[in-house]
């Protein structure tokens, strides 16, 4: 399997937290972090243990369940979200790593008025999913793939979408959807 999805390895710039141990007075207790996460343009305050991943923070604490847990070990791509516009695996990212970053999930992709992103619309039109479980990750990956300039040919789309597994086997339709959305976004 080829993965083109990044994980964040650089620590937060203000550096108030390392390896689960509080390093300054900002943390109320050694085992709980008070975080403020900017998700889909809104601020969310939450108290979590340092070991809580972004994925579990989204799904279990903030009830943003659109981001899916497929493997919890960075191998399937179902949890793909955007951090500062780049695709990131939420299961391999601690919630604490993304404070101060701009996070976008599938719930934040359409316009406020409900107008779908071109990729979402193309996925529906091309029937680029069946069960729908890998779909949020596929769509987040596809949006970034197009933005990265990696949707120039079907071959390139297949390669740069290869980090998102789909067991229903919607791959040919996913390629068609990404191709269609890329063309619409170019014109």
């Amino acid at each position: 399997m080829t993965s083109h999805i990044q994980t964040i390895i650089d620590p937060p710039e203000d550096g108030h937290f390392r390896n689960g141990v509080a390093t300054d007075g900002l943390i109320p207790s050694p085992t709980t972090l008070s975080l403020n996460l900017a998700i889909n343009g809104r601020d969310h305050a939450l108290d979590v243990e340092p070991r809580v991943t972004l994925l579990d923070a989204l799904r279990e604490r903030l009830h943003l369940t659109g981001t899916k847990k497929g493997c919890d070990q960075g191998q399937c791509g179902a949890c793909t979200v955007h951090v500062d516009g780049e695709r990131v695996l939420a299961c391999l990212t601690l919630a604490a790593q993304v404070e101060g970053r701009s996070i976008t999930t599938i719930e934040g992709l359409a316009d406020e008025d409900g107008t779908l992103n071109a990729v979402q619309a193309a996925f529906l039109e091309q029937d680029a999913f069946q069960c729908g479980y890998c779909t949020p990750g596929q769509i987040m990956s596809a949006v970034a793939c197009i933005r990265e300039g990696h949707a120039g040919s079907d071959e390139e789309i297949r390669e740069y979408m290869a980090g998102n597994l789909c067991r229903c086997g919607a791959y040919p339709n996913i390629v068609a959807a990404v191709r269609q959305a890329a063309q619409e976004l170019r014109s």
């Binding site: 399997m1 080829t2 085992t31 243990e49 070991r51 809580v52 579990d56 799904r59 279990e60 009830h63 943003l64 369940t65 659109g66 981001t67 899916k68 847990k69 497929g70 493997c71 919890d72 070990q73 191998q75 399937c76 179902a78 999930t105 599938i106 719930e107 992709l109 359409a110 779908l116 979402q120 996925f123 529906l124 039109e125 029937d127 999913f129 069946q130 069960c131 729908g132 479980y133 890998c134 779909t135 949020p136 769509i139 079907d154 297949r158 390669e159 979408m161 290869a162 980090g163 998102n164 597994l165 789909c166 067991r167 229903c168 086997g169 919607a170 791959y171 040919p172 339709n173 390629v175």
Partner: protein
């Protein structure tokens, strides 16, 4: 409850919305925006999180479990072991047969029969606390010898499955007399369902009422199991599963981990959520069983088959029974006057294997569809030609006419689209640079499985329509085709129809498996909607205040949600106006496809067991879906890497209720077939019986980069003997025949016959065949 509202341009309208139209998924908008809430995504107050501890041996006894450290860990509510978890009653099997009613069922194992069996569970306030505490639980075992691999199928406890023997003529004598012989062993590997949504559940008790949120292919069957485990009435269990993130056969039964979560919730008096880790999804339930099959073919020099002798064996666990029936379609693909097929299973220290997409038919096709290709090569015949020479004009086993069999058409249409006529017959005769090119063909079949279903259709005061069923949509398109069926039957736009599925308190439904759901449920919805329509028209005709009063029944119809003369003359009312005029807030009809006089007990059995399935050879016909796959592979001459570069498949699933969605399912099956042919294999550590590649990095699923363009062509015609609206099975069919088509293409490319799946590069080395385990 799940409601899908569909809005699309007026130009889409009638053509797309009719049954058979290419309507986009009505549940699509929810899935592409993240709004679709899957079963275990329910948010409940006071939810506790459970994490399982699994055995690290394949056989033996758990002597002791050290739980003190885990219990002392922060946030831990309880650690349960075989000694402390509540004991349940033994539930009946999926035929409804009671299993050892005198015994109790302990969902955590003291006697270990496979590696990865659940032996303890940690429940904590948060998921993270449960995960870390579970790592502190230590077990001591008294280990016993284990048999963990099928090998050549001759070691261990071998059980003959007499009911699967099929014989006619004198196969041995005819084989001895036939001038052309072929004998080969074909092996298929253990493979995983690997749905991207893991198995798991939330269990909540309110008194003696249990609600389970769990991805499920069979709400009523699983609800029955929970009811029997806990000794509560069936009606007290509510199973909720609005969306299923992939099942492929794995999510039809309540499993040991389901029992653990429900028992823990009852003991703690709190709702409990338990999700299997990805690794546990490889060990907590079985995938497709490993199989071995021997095929001996006798033919005359013109290529006409005289005899087929088939012997198959599959692996099964020490407890329970599942047969991967490798002879299931061997008997129907070709006309032969003499035939013999038998099946054994071997008990191993493994988790019970499960049905996985086209169970039986898929490995069965690998045997017979490779063998016929080998025979063609032996005789210098084209692989298509030999299939037509031996074309079965009726079911050779059941001796009944096919209901419909568009296989000849599939061969012709597929060959034309693929360009088969340009194939150079000799192996290694087509290449592009250092890539050897191979073209292969294989056919497939899947029986039409039928049962009965029921549905509720409600016409509401505002003219909207609701359809309710406890059937499910795991991506096959149930929401969509039932909306199309109700809309067409009632004469309303799809945008006025809401389909609600995935709640066991709705009208009952049997298992979603064996490609039976669409045929059953379109029939049930059509019937319920027809009853509702009759009542609506009856109201229109009988109310003296309405302009239709006194007209004949057949002079009224509903079109675009308006009731009036079908000719468009005369008075017209919208459904909402009519309902207001007669003062009704709803018309509700329950329709089912069961015969008149069916008892309540039979109904319960129909929905909660598979005992009332109707044989595909019932009555005068033998009913199957059919397909032919044409595959091009490119094999690197130096490295032996195989890439599928082109697939054209022609398929006969009868009438398609929605071709857009059916094509997606076919392609999905073909892609799963590519995985089983080239990539996927559950590898067992022979020392400990562990699955060593129990994750998505080491268990190779096809990725987008592995899959070429796939062309699917429907050659089906409506089959009135198979379902009310003329459809046959779709979802299981696509995978059948893919692996042999690829193996045949690899042989054409390389001149090497690999009879052992998956076809990996080391098997294509010179002289590699002789060293492959289990191969002759």
């Amino acid at each position: 409850m799940t409601v899908h509202d569909v809005k699309h341009a007026a130009s889409d309208s009638a053509r797309l919305e009719a049954v058979g139209g290419r309507l986009s998924r009505v549940d699509g908008p929810a899935k592409i925006t993240g709004a679709a809430r899957y079963a275990v995504e329910q948010q409940l107050e006071g939810l506790a999180h459970a994490v399982l501890v699994d055995s690290t041996i394949a056989a033996g006894k758990v002597v002791s479990i050290e739980t003190q450290a885990a219990k002392a860990a922060r946030g831990v509510i309880a650690v349960l072991t075989p000694d402390t978890i509540m004991k349940l009653s033994v539930a009946s099997d999926w035929f409804g047969n009671p299993l050892a009613p005198q015994r109790t069922f302990c969902p955590l194992a003291r006697d270990v029969t496979y590696c990865g069996q659940h032996i303890a569970v940690v429940i904590a306030e948060t998921f993270e606390q449960a995960v870390s505490a579970a790592a502190l639980v230590m077990a001591d075992y008294d280990q016993a010898p284990a048999l963990v691999e099928l090998g050549d199928g001759t070691a261990g406890e071998i059980i003959s499955i007499e009911g699967m023997t099929k014989e006619w003529g004198n196969a041995q004598a005819a084989l001895a007399e036939a001038p052309v012989h072929l004998s080969a062993v074909y092996n298929t590997q253990r493979s995983a369902h690997a749905a991207i949504e893991p198995h798991g559940l939330i269990a909540r008790w309110e008194g003696d009422r249990l609600t389970i949120w769990e991805p499920s292919q069979w709400l009523d069957g699983m609800a029955r199991t929970y009811a029997e485990w806990f000794g509560i009435p069936f009606e007290n269990v509510r199973l909720v599963s609005p969306y299923i993130g992939g099942g492929f056969g794995s999510k039809a039964l309540a499993l040991a981990h389901s029992a653990v979560a429900a028992a823990a919730a009852k003991m703690l008096g709190r709702p409990v959520k338990l999700m299997l880790t990805r690794s546990q999804n490889f060990t907590s339930y079985g995938g497709r069983a490993t199989t071995r099959q021997t095929i001996d073919l006798g033919a005359d020099k013109a290529g006409r088959i005289q005899s087929i002798i088939h012997r198959g064996v599959s692996e099964v666990s020490l407890e329970g029974m599942w047969v991967e029936a490798v002879g299931s379609i061997t008997s129907i693909m070709y006309d032969t006057p003499n035939f013999s097929s038998r099946q054994d299973v071997v008990r191993l220290n493994t988790v019970l294997p499960n049905p996985k997409r086209a169970p039986g038919e898929n490995p069965s096709a690998f045997g017979i569809e490779c063998a016929i290709d080998e025979l063609a090569h032996e005789l210098g015949l084209d692989p298509l030609e030999i299939r037509l020479i031996n074309y079965a004009e009726q079911d050779p086993h059941a001796k009944k006419a096919w209901s419909t069999r568009q296989l000849r058409e599939a061969f012709a249409v597929g060959a034309e689209a693929f360009g088969w006529a340009k194939r150079s017959p000799a192996p290694r005769s087509m290449r592009a640079g250092h890539q050897l090119i191979g073209w292969g063909v294989a056919a497939g079949a899947y029986p039409v499985q039928r049962a009965h279903g029921e549905a509720v259709v409600k016409i509401m005061f505002d003219g909207s329509v609701e359809v309710e069923s406890s059937s499910i949509d795991m991506g096959q398109g149930t929401y969509t085709i039932l909306a199309q069926t109700a809309a067409e039957t009632l004469g309303v736009p799809v945008s006025q129809v809401s389909v609600k599925l995935g709640d066991s308190h709705f009208a009952r439904a049997g298992v979603t498996g064996g490609s039976r759901l669409a045929g059953i449920m379109t029939g049930a919805v059509h019937k319920a909607a027809s009853q509702a329509l009759d009542e609506l028209i009856g109201l229109a005709l009988s109310d003296p205040r309405l302009p239709f009063h006194g007209l004949q029944a057949n002079t009224l119809a509903v079109k675009d949600g308006r009731i009036g003369s079908p000719r468009g003359d005369g008075p017209e009312l919208s459904i909402a106006e009519l309902m207001a005029a007669v003062g009704r807030d709803r018309i509700e009809a329950k329709g089912d496809t069961l015969p008149a006089g069916t008892t309540a007990e039979e109904r319960y059995k129909n929905y909660t067991t598979i005992a009332m399935s109707i044989p595909h050879t019932e009555g005068d016909y033998s009913r199957h879906s059919w397909c032919a796959h044409f595959v091009e592979v490119k094999v690197d001459e130096d490295f032996g890497t195989v890439r599928v570069s082109r697939v054209v498949s022609a398929l006969d699933s009868g009438r398609l209720y929605n071709p857009k969605l059916a094509e997606s399912q076919w392609k999905g099956g073909i892609i799963m077939g590519i995985g089983e042919a080239l990539l996927e294999e559950g590898i067992v550590d022979r020392r400990h019986g562990r699955i060593v590649n129990s994750n998505f990095a080491d268990y190779m699923l096809p990725t987008n980069a592995d899959i070429p363009d796939i062309q699917t062509i429907s050659v089906g015609i409506p089959d009135p003997h198979s379902s009310a609206l003329g459809g046959k099975g779709v979802g299981e069919l696509g995978i059948v025949g893919v692996a042999p088509a690829i193996a045949n293409a690899v042989f054409h490319a390389t001149g090497k016959r690999v009879r052992d799946l998956p076809i990996t590069l080391e098997k294509l080395r010179d002289g590699a065949e002789a060293r492959e385990r289990g191969c002759e």
